[in-house]
Subunit: 189 residues, 2 copies
Amino acid sequence: MTAVTDTIRNGVDTKQLFATLDLIKEQPELAKFQFRVSNRWIDGSHNRSTIKDFYAAGGEDTTRGDPFVIDAGEPAILVGSDTGANPAEHLLHALAACLTTSIVYVAAARKVQLTSVESILTGDMDVRGALGVDDEPRNGFERISVSFRVTGNAPEEKLREVVERAQKRSAVYDMVTNGVPVAVEVTTH
Amino acid sequence: MTAVTDTIRNGVDTKQLFATLDLIKEQPELAKFQFRVSNRWIDGSHNRSTIKDFYAAGGEDTTRGDPFVIDAGEPAILVGSDTGANPAEHLLHALAACLTTSIVYVAAARKVQLTSVESILTGDMDVRGALGVDDEPRNGFERISVSFRVTGNAPEEKLREVVERAQKRSAVYDMVTNGVPVAVEVTTH
């Protein structure tokens, strides 16, 4: 699945990875990033995000060509027409993707060659909260369960250490478990 | 942009919406939902989520045909090759999509005909945390800013009330601001 050379492991260029880490250690001001999403309502539960520009390492990053375009929707039971995964599912995807990327990078840095990383995430929700039927259940998931299957050329204990370290460093895991301050402003013209 | 009839407003079938709310009021056990995502590592920072089945209203929902498939990646500066938006951007998309859907549904319920809902979200991150260079900065965004532009056939005050109510009921806004318990389990064979 992945090439193994002196520097590329799990598809990650470890030479580049370590060079980036060294650079940020020396110049911490380069660590300030800003990611952005533009979203536009289309119809009903259908809306679309466009993702391209971001600020990184002291300037606007212009390496991306076409923007990423991601649609959201709701299934019929939530009065939609399935124009995309729903927002709560997108949050589970963000969490899965971040933990998986963290596992792959940590493994690469620790010289662990992975053969597979698979996960199933579930989120349990009492929709009375989000639908405004009852004030008691919270709006979001009551709990999220993540089940990983990770295989590679290392003993079980080392693979488990990689997952633990990845969990400790994942940006989305931090946000989903600890929360983030969100400021909302509105214009109406 | 949207048809206006007795029941369809902002593309939302309000008759169906109110019928769903009434049903869940009468039978709260139908409010238990579970959403799911399967994710698989492809190479480097490239991984892919598949989203289809979910549990809703007392049983497995089988109305969806093809699964939704969403790719994640990282830009070059984060040692990836831009195979998709990155996980933190996907989280911003989830938040944008949920707030927007909530605005549209609340407006439909309150007889407000919307003409547009647009938003720009930004998340500020000191990547020393997630990269493991420094223990002090958190891994995730330090803050998220959401800027909405909402227009429709209602006075500014009413449009602002719609956004406020939507914010109070959004599932992803709740999760991102307050956090969710996440349980991670691992198998290695």
